[in-house]
Amino acid sequence: MRRRSPTQESGLARYTLILAALAYVALILLLPLGAVFAEGFRDGAAAFFAAITEQDARSAIELTLLVATISVPLNVVFGIAAAWAITKHEFRGKAFLITLIDLPFSVSPVVSGLIYVLLFGAQGWFGPFLQDRGIEIVFALPGIILATVFVTFPFVARELIPLMASQGKAAEEAALSLGATGWQTFVHVTLPNIRWGLLYGVLLCNARAMGEFGAVSVVSGHIRGETNTMPLHVEVLYNEYNFVAAFAVASLLALLALVTLALKTFLEWRHRDAIAALGH
């Protein structure tokens, strides 16, 4: 018989805890996910595919992918720059900058959207100026991208700041003392050291960019086939009592998230030795 280790609980307590944890995971995570897919396929696969290939659904999918393709790279660049400035340099107002980065997390998404309506809407600060020049921001693609960039801004920076802080400056200083330029140091030393954290930040940022509802809902204007992203399209369909189509698009959105997580797990498994060597 296998002896239990001194820090292990007795059999009964152990199984009770494991069961409780599994039940919780099933109830909170698996059941809703399963329900989304079950509802989407309720009228069979043909109805499911009809719902996601229909004209408005396709344009919503395209818009969502376009928004993610633009906003994720922007936040990768600014996230790395912010994390690098905060962890490798000393400057006045650093604590304030860290708080500022968290702002999109603490502000309600509706407010995040309203900010842009207030700034660029027809009655907004810059509205008349932009209108005169025929530039549309709110109720158009630029507004959706701005709102998405705002909401997803913290993901990359938040992922990198603790990682880069724990790594310190020694490796960068070593590269400098060996004659490397700032850019060489960044490419050959900093970037390889943060790549796993960066990957995780990018995936989270992407998942949120595709899934954001509140802020995008405020600036989008809900023009079917034009400014509806996937989450907004799901709401429209649901409000029209078109449940099968709503859940079909919703399950596609959920699938994107699952693929993202699977990709991350796969990459971590493929490169487990390299990750272990970097010590995180």
Partner: protein, 238 residues
């Protein structure tokens, strides 16, 4: 290369790390900066390296003022307390780093870099370790790699920040002797920081004893032991 440190001062917000330090170090000398923590010895070393800029004073290498020259252009080798090896590169690539990143016009050929790496691996007695990764090495081996890496571009000045601080006593002594031999063989001017007075006196030609950002005494070990200049030096020797 000779090193002249002229009246260097440095403060970190309210804390005065160095209050006007002057040291003249001759070509080929092996000097220890000795002092308790907070005495400013590491700050002084980092200022010599160009990893920190002084508030006041000048740093002069063989007559050339390098005070405003960034670390990358000072032509020094620096060995960090916790090695600071690049974890994602193997030992050979770590050592080759300083050569690999040179401008194409100045960079040696691939073969020349490879043979330089071999030569350095032999120098630090890690001949067959080129393809290992830093995480697969012991502390003493990592510090040897860090030393080889710092020497790759043939610096005339070698700066070491508590190079043996994290190692056990036996490895410490081995590395100490190895460092002294390499210093003589390569013809370096070396400065190392330590808080261990035995180490400083055993290894260095001259020892600068620092206290609260000031030099208390800068002399050969025999002189300092025979005629300590202040009560602080006396108490530090006990």
């Amino acid at each position: 290369m000779s090193i002249r440190i002229e009246n260097i001062a440095k403060s970190f917000s309210a804390f005065r790390a160095l209050g006007g330090v002057t040291l003249h170090i001759g070509e080929g000398e092996f000097v220890a900066l000795l002092g308790p923590s907070g005495s400013g010895k590491t700050t002084l070393l980092r200022i010599i390296a160009g990893l920190e800029f002084p508030d006041d004073g000048r740093i002069i290498f063989s007559g050339k003022d390098v005070t405003d020259t960034p670390a990358a252009q000072r032509g020094i080798g620096f060995v960090f307390q916790h090695y600071a090896l690049f974890g994602h590169m193997n030992v050979a690539r770590n050592i080759a780093f300083g050569l690999d990143i040179m401008k194409r016009r100045e960079r040696p050929s691939k073969e020349a870099i490879a043979s330089r790496v071999e030569e350095l691996l032999r120098l630090v007695r890690l001949k067959d370790y080129g393809s290992r990764y830093p995480s697969q090495l012991s502390g003493g081996q990592r510090q040897r790699v860090a030393l080889a890496r710092a020497l790759a571009r043939n610096p005339r000045i070698l700066l070491l920040d508590e190079p043996f601080g994290a190692l056990d006593a036996k490895v410490r002594r081995e590395l100490r002797d190895a460092l002294r031999i390499i210093h003589n063989e390569v013809g370096l001017t070396s400065i190392f920081v330590t808080h261990d007075h035995e180490e400083a006196f055993a290894l260095a030609d001259r020892v600068a004893i620092l206290n609260s950002g000031k030099v208390e005494q800068f002399a050969a070990p025999t002189v300092t032991i025979a005629t300590p200049k202040s009560d602080f030096v006396r108490s530090f020797l006990e």
